[in-house]
Amino acid sequence: MRFRLPLLAGLLLASLAGPAFADDGIVVYNAQHEELTQEWADGFTKETGIKVTLRNGSDTELGNQILQEGAASPADVFLTENSPAMVLVDGAGLFEPLGKDITDLVAEGYRPVSGNWTGIAARSTVFAYNPDKISEDKLPKSIMDLADPSWQGRWAASPSGADFQAIIAAMLELKGEAATSAWLKAEKANSIAYRGNTAAMKGVDNGEVDGAIIYHYYYFGDKAKTGENSSHVQLHFFKGQDPGAFVSVSGGGVLKTSQHKADALAFLKWIVGPGGQKVLRDGTSYEYAIGNGAESNPALPPLASLEAPKVDPALLNSQKVTELMTDAGLL
C-alpha cells in the first residue's frame, strides 16, 4: 500500500508522455478532411515507409497556430482546404520554396506564382437547393442576389467555417470591400447559420431552408454513403464567372522550420503526383484533382465547364474577412 500507489502513478505519468512524442516521421498540420489525408498518408507510408502523424484542425485555426508557434512549430507539412490560410502563413515567410519538380506537377492557376506552396485539390462553390421548395427558374442568378430581402430566412450557410470564409475572401477580391460588407450584413439578416456544410445541406434536405451555399463534394460524398442528408437536394452551379462559381484551391506547403524537410517535400510531391491525385479520382472525397493531366472523379461535372471566376489564390485575405464578419455580427 505504501509504495504501490506512487509506483502506479509514476507508471501512468510515464505512459502519458508516450502520446506526446512523434519523433520518427513527419508531422502534418492537416485542415483537410481527415479521411482524405489519412488515405494520402497511408498510401505514402506504404510506398516509402515514412511515418506520418496528423494534427487535425480547421484552416485558420491551424494557420494561426503555426504563426503563433513560429520557429518552434513541430509542423513539417501544412495542408488546407482553402487558400486563405496558406496566404496567411506565406505572408509570414514560413514556407520553404518548392522546387520545379513539385510545381511542374500541378496545373497552372492552381498554384501561386511565388512557388512557396501549391494546390493539392480543388472544390467548387454551389447552391444546394431543395427542388420541392424552390423551382429551377426561381434560383438565384448570382450569389449576390441572396442579399435581397426576398431571400430572408430562405437560405443557409456555415459562416463559422473556413470554407465559407474562403468564399467571402473571393467575393472580397472580386467585388471589393464595400459590396462584401453590405452582403455580409444582409446575410446576418437573411440566412440561417449552421455549423458545418453537412448540417447546412441537411437543413436543405429537411426543408428548413430553400437552399444553402456549400461546396460541391458534400453532396456527392453523401450520395456515395447513405444519401440520407441529400435525398431532396439538387446542386445549382452559378457559372458565368460569378463569385458564387468560385473554385477554391486546397493548398499544401512545407514549413521552413521543419526538421524533416526531405521527407516533407517527398510527401507533398506524392500528393500532387499521380499517386495522390489517383486517390482523388478513385476515392470517396469527391474533390477535384488539380495535377497536370490528372483526372477527377467521373461522377463530377468537369472543372472547365464550371466557368469559375479568375481569382489568384495568393491574394485571398482571411484576416480582413474575419474582421468584416465580426463587424457584421456573424462571428
Binding site: M1, L8, A9, L12, L13, S15, L16, A17, G18, P19, A20, A22, V27, H33, E34, T53, L54, R55, N56, G57, S58, T60, E61, G63, N64, Q65, L67, Q68, E69, A72, P74, S160, A162, Q165, A193, Y194, R195, G196, T198, A199, K202, N206, E208, K225, T226, N229, T322, M325, T326, G329, L330, L331
Partner: protein, 526 residues
C-alpha cells in the same frame, strides 16, 4: 458539491497547541498556496488580455450586438432550464425517497444513470432522431435531461437524511401534507437545491457540444468559433472574460439564495426513519412521470445509439482507431484523476483540520476554476505555453494540468467529505508514537478516507473522459480521445461511425456512476 455538507462546530485548539501546529502545517500550507497560485493562472490571463488589449479594443469587441445576442441567449437558457430542472428533480427525488413507490431503488438508479451519458451524446442522439428540435427549446430539453441528476442527487441525499420529527411536529399542529411539504421539507432542501442548481448553471455556461448540435449560440460556442477563425485573438479571450463575469453573477445569486440559516439538527438522540407516504390514486401519475423521464433521458439516446450501431454494421468498428482512442482516454482519465487528487490533498487536509481567513482564500482559489468553462482554461494555457513556455506547448503535461485545474473542485469536495470522517485524534496519536507528520497523516487519515478518495478519483476520471473542448484545444499531435474522435465524426454528421465511440464513452462511465451512487449511499448510512 454533490454531498451536501453540514458543518459541525470545530473545536478550538488550546493556545499551546495552536503554536505547536504552525510549524507542522507549514509545508502543507506552502504546497496548497503554490497550487492555489497555479489555479489563478486562467484568471490572471484574462485580466492581462483585457488590460493589454486596451480600453478601446475591449469596448469594441465586448459592447457589440453579437455579444448582446449571446448574453440574451444565455439568460433565457438559464432562466428557463433552472426552474424546470429544480422542480422536476425535487418531485422525482420526493417520489423515490419519501413515498411507498414500488421499485423505488430501481427508479432512483434510473434517475442517476443519465450521468453516464455525456451531454453532447444526448444532443447527438436527439438530433439524429428529431432534427426539427433545435434552437432555444431544443437546448432546454436536452439540458434538462442531461443535468437533472446534478440536482436530483443532492436533493435525494438530503431527503433521506431529514429528521421526521419536524414534519411530525407540524402535523401535530394541524398542518396538511401539502403545507408540511412547502413549509417544512422544502426549506430544508434549500442548500442541496442551491448547490445542484449552481452546478447546472455553471455547466450550461461552459457546455459546447450540446449547443453546437442544437444550433444555439452561447459564449462557449462563440469562443470556439473565434478560436477556429483567429486562433488566439483578443476577441476570443475577451468573450472568455464576459463568460467569467457571468459565472461570478451566478455565484452571487447562489450565495444570496443560500442564505445563512442553520440546518443541522439540535438536541440529543437520533432521528427516526422517515415515513414513507402512501400514494394511493397518485401512484399511476407518479409512475408515469418517472417512466417518461427515464425514457426521455435514457431510452431515446440508448435506442438511437443501438440503431446507429445496427445500421453501421461491422464496418464502423475500426478497431485500430477505436482501440487507440480508448487506450488514450483511459490513460489520460486515470492519470489525470490521480494527479488532480494528489494536488487537492494539501487543501483538503488543511480545510478539515482548521480554518483561517487565509485558508478560505486559498480554498476559493482552488474552487473557482471549476466554475470556469473548460475552454477558458484551455485558451489561457494555450496562449501562455505558446508565448512563454514553449517546451510545455502541446504536451500531455499541459493537457493534464488543464484537467487538474478544471476538476480540482470535484476532487476537493470528495476528499474533504471523506477525510472529515477520520478524527484528528488518530493523527495526533500516530505522531505521538513517533511517526513523522506526513507518514502519520498517510497511515491514519488517508487510509480511513481511502474509499472516499477512490470514489473522488473515479468522479474526476469520469469528468475527464467526457471532457471535450479543452482536449480539442490542448491535445498533443496524434492524441485522440473517445470524446474528440466522437466529435470529429459527429461534425461530419457521420452518425453511424460515431456510435461506437459514444457506446464506449457510456460503458466507461457506467461503473463510475455506480461507484458514485454506492458511495453516496454509504456516506449517508455511516
Amino acid at each position: 458539491m454533490l454531498s451536501a455538507e453540514i458543518a459541525a462546530p470545530r473545536p478550538l485548539p488550546a493556545p499551546a497547541a495552536r503554536l505547536r501546529r504552525l510549524p507542522q502545517n507549514a509545508p502543507v500550507l506552502a504546497a496548497a498556496t503554490i497550487i492555489a497560485l497555479l489555479s489563478l493562472i486562467p484568471l490572471g490571463f484574462i485580466l492581462v488580455v483585457a488590460i493589454s488589449a486596451g480600453w478601446d479594443q475591449v469596448v469594441k469587441l465586448v459592447i457589440r450586438p453579437r455579444v448582446g445576442e449571446l448574453l440574451l441567449n444565455t439568460v433565457w437558457l438559464e432562466a428557463i432550464t433552472l426552474p424546470i430542472t429544480i422542480v422536476l428533480a425535487v418531485a422525482l427525488a420526493w417520489l423515490t425517497e419519501r413515498t411507498a413507490l414500488p421499485g423505488a431503488r430501481w427508479w432512483a438508479a434510473l434517475m442517476v444513470a443519465p450521468l453516464a451519458i455525456p451531454a453532447f451524446v444526448q444532443s447527438y442522439a436527439w438530433n439524429s432522431v428529431l432534427p426539427q428540435l433545435h434552437g432555444l427549446w431544443g437546448a432546454v430539453v436536452i439540458a434538462v435531461i442531461s443535468y437533472l441528476p446534478f440536482v436530483y442527487l443532492p436533493v435525494a441525499a438530503q431527503l433521506k437524511r431529514l429528521d421526521p420529527a419536524l414534519e411530525d411536529g407540524a402535523a401535530s399542529l394541524g398542518k396538511g401534507p401539502a403545507e408540511i411539504f412547502w413549509r417544512v421539507v422544502l426549506p430544508q432542501l434549500r442548500l442541496p437545491i442551491c448547490a445542484g442548481a449552481l452546478l447546472v448553471g455553471l455547466h450550461l455556461l461552459g457546455e459546447y457540444g450540446l449547443f453546437v448540435l442544437m444550433r444555439f449560440d452561447t459564449f462557449a460556442t462563440a469562443i470556439v468559433d473565434q478560436f477556429q477563425s483567429v486562433y488566439n485573438g483578443p476577441a476570443a479571450n475577451l468573450l472568455g472574460g464576459v463568460l467569467v463575469l457571468c459565472c461570478v453573477v451566478l455565484f452571487g445569486i447562489e450565495a444570496v439564495a443560500r442564505g445563512d440559516r442553520r440546518y443541522a439538527r439540535l438536541g440529543t438522540g437520533a432521528a427516526r426513519m422517515p415515513v414513507q407516504h402512501e400514494l394511493g390514486a397518485w401512484m399511476i401519475a407518479a409512475l408515469a412521470l418517472l417512466a417518461i423521464t427515464a425514457t426521455l433521458s435514457l431510452g431515446v439516446t440508448l435506442a438511437t445509439l443501438l440503431r446507429w450501431l445496427w445500421i453501421g454494421g461491422a464496418s464502423i468498428w475500426a478497431l485500430r482507431d477505436i482501440g487507440a482512442a480508448l487506450a488514450q482516454t483511459v490513460g489520460l482519465s486515470i492519470g489525470g484523476a490521480i494527479i488532480t487528487t494528489v494536488l487537492a490533498m494539501p487543501m483538503a487536509w488543511l480545510s478539515v483540520r482548521g480554518s483561517s481567513r487565509f485558508q478560505r482564500g486559498l480554498e476559493a482559489a482552488h474552487l473557482y476554476a471549476g466554475a470556469l468553462p473548460g475552454i477558458i482554461i484551455a485558451l489561457a494555457l494555450v496562449s501562455i505555453t505558446v508565448r512563454v513556455m514553449l517546451p510545455l506547448y502541446q504536451t500531455a503535461a499541459t493537457l493534464v494540468f488543464a484537467y487538474a485545474l478544471m476538476f480540482l473542485p470535484r476532487a476537493l469536495t470528495g476528499l474533504r467529505s471523506s477525510m472529515a470522517q477520520a478524527p484528528v485524534e488518530l493523527e495526533r496519536a500516530a505522531m505521538s508514537l513517533g511517526r513523522p507528520p506526513l507518514v502519520a497523516v498517510w497511515r491514519t487519515t488517508m487510509r480511513l478516507a481511502a474509499p472516499g478518495i477512490a470514489a473522488s478519483v473515479a468522479l474526476v476520471a469520469l469528468g475527464i473522459s467526457n471532457e471535450l473542448t479543452g482536449t480539442l484545444l490542448l491535445a498533443p499531435n496524434g492524441t485522440r480521445t473517445l470524446a474528440t474522435k466522437f466529435w470529429a465524426l459527429t461534425s461530419e454528421l457521420d452518425y453511424a461511425a460515431a456510435s461506437p465511440y459514444a457506446l464506449l464513452l457510456i460503458l466507461l462511465s457506467l461503473p463510475l456512476v455506480v461507484l458514485l451512487r454506492r458511495q453516496a449511499d454509504r456516506a449517508l448510512s455511516a
